[in-house]
Amino acid sequence: MQKTLFDKLWDQHVVDTVEGGTDVLYIDRHFIHEVTSPQAFAGLRKRGIGVARPQQTVATADHNVPTINQDQPIKEKLSRFQVDTLTQNCEEFGLELYGLGHPYQGIVHVIGPELGITRPGMTIVCGDSHTSTHGAFGCIAFGIGTSQVEQVLATQCLLQVRPKRMRITVDGTLPPGVVSKDIILYIISQLSASGGTGYFVEYAGSAIRNLSMEARMTICNMSIEMGARGGLIAPDATTFEYIKGREFAPSGKNWDDAMAYWQTLYTDEGATFDKEYVYRAEDIPPMVTYGTNPGMGIGVDQSIPAPASPSASFQKSLKYMGFEAGESLEGKPIDYVFIGSCTNSRMEDLRLVAEYVKGRRKADHVNVMVVPGSRQVRDQAKREGLDVIFREAGFDFREAGCSACLGMNEDKVPKGAYCVSTSNRNFEGRQGPGARTILASPLTAAATAISGHIIDVRTVLTPELV
């Protein structure tokens, strides 16, 4: 029987099936962080049990850590308490922690892949919806709630109902100035913020195949923004090349055995999906969002839709953003630019931004923050001299964390201010109470920072960037 990649992986991990069809799914890797884990550890303590498979859980501090002076104690009392609680829990339950100050610390979805912990064929979960990122390696990776974090700690398994399967194929060649972030914002704008709910998505097609691993991670990362539980891409030579030699990647005979297994991980010819969509890469423009969910996106040269009878929710959204139906965002002045988050804070993102801004300076009225996804990304950026380029451009290059993506730490956008952000959510108040978020690619964000207003990058591309 022909199987989808998703079904091959799911079947491989079913330990048992409960009456009614719920599966007991085995979890290969579990990532935890300071915000969604404390109540799970409290639950274990209350039950008087330990962590079932401590070697399969890795912890880091990312969500509410400050992005300056990480060598000093955290000033904000509640954040400090939460991070300290994580440290104590990891000590008590015997878990590996890449905490503040550790060379491997960073956003959980950045460090897993960069350390070679994330590998094809795995099931990976974390108390964070953007766990879908790891699907770029051909994994079943998805976000869970805290009760489920406790389940995995207690049993290394989860009770799950198998989702439906969707395939999204993007064929062709991306136009100049269009990057992977634009692909996923385009797809979500077509399918809406709930169009993927109930599904697990496989991304396929020549435009996806031609992407680097980091670009693939950006695509899978935002699967949740169309409601999908996760997204995945079949592993190929690009994937294996990326993993080889990383800190926790297999080596020697284990590598050969792993390769033999990984090469079986693809969707069989003729396997069927519950839903299929096909797009042409040539149709995708640089994207921006205009509303308060990631499905409300348009090409940067297009106008905000003006439906004849707009819903109350649509009107509420535009009112919050201070935009009018039918108007264009091109040329709108911007107050903040945020380059970071588990969507776009990796080396390639930083290199792309640096390449554009080298020798230029930000518009005076714009605050620009560049927050690397991990300590390793930050260190590498410095080795390549990107920190100097950012400083000369007037950008604030900070230390690793989730930062202004969700505004849990001090990095917030003020009420009413506009922020072009490379993050993943433009929900009301996401970057701070009253903040107005416009999602875009790192390239669009960089160009906006320099010009001071929303700009179509295609109009300012230099030959090197094409």
Partner: protein, 199 residues
């Protein structure tokens, strides 16, 4: 987990579509390390104006509407996996959320906390919201064992879907860990067969 079998209650209408978990509980209130007390900040940024003044236009500040059932717009609970959203709704006093569509992670989190996500069709949802606006004393009867929602004043009784395993858990107050721990031997047996590539 608190048991849930049946509930008869008035309802609070919140006819907004695509309510995400950042609205249900903003990230800056996720710094607690216990499960209690999140109700205080439920819908914080809609519920309060700057200076922590209650927003008179927000339904939770309107004494006309009360009850243990929240009737929300389509696509409730999208976005972040924060279980704090389910905790906040429960802590505030809700036991049922009605919508015509729920985001996956929220649905799971709610069921794991004794909060019933009850899905009805778009048409009935709109009629129900309008009927509550007209008569805030309108009562709803939720029967989990029978999987029915009854709205006497609309002369409606509809069946709703719920995963049979989660239904059993909610009725008995069981949680998944109690169940999974009975599977320890099967899990250990499975582990002997795992491919090296994923170990």
């Amino acid at each position: 987990m608190e048991k849930f079998t049946t509930l008869t209650s008035t309802a609070v209408p919140l006819a907004i579509e695509d309510i995400d978990t950042d609205q249900i509980i903003p990230a800056r209130f996720l710094k607690a390390t216990t499960r209690e007390g999140f109700g205080e900040n439920l819908f914080r940024d809609w519920r309060y104006l700057p200076g922590d003044v209650p927003n008179p236009d927000f339904v939770l500040n309107d004494d006309t509407y009360r009850g243990q059932v929240l009737v929300a717009g389509k696509n409730f609970g999208m976005g972040s996996s924060r279980e704090h959203a389910a905790w906040a709704l429960f802590d505030y006093g809700f036991r049922v959320v009605i919508s015509s569509f729920f985001a996956d992670i929220f649905r799971g989190n709610a069921l794991n906390n004794g909060l019933l996500p009850l899905q009805i069709d778009d048409d009935l949802l709109l009629r129900l919201q309008a009927a509550i606006k007209e008569d805030p004393e309108l009562t709803l009867e939720v029967d989990l064992p029978q999987q029915t929602l009854t709205i006497p004043s609309l002369d409606e009784q509809v069946r709703f879907e719920v995963d049979p395993y989660k239904k059993m858990c909610m009725i008995n107050g069981y949680d998944d860990i109690d169940f999974l721990r009975t599977k320890a031997d099967v899990i250990t047996a499975y582990e002997t067969k795992r491919p090296v590539a994923v170990q």
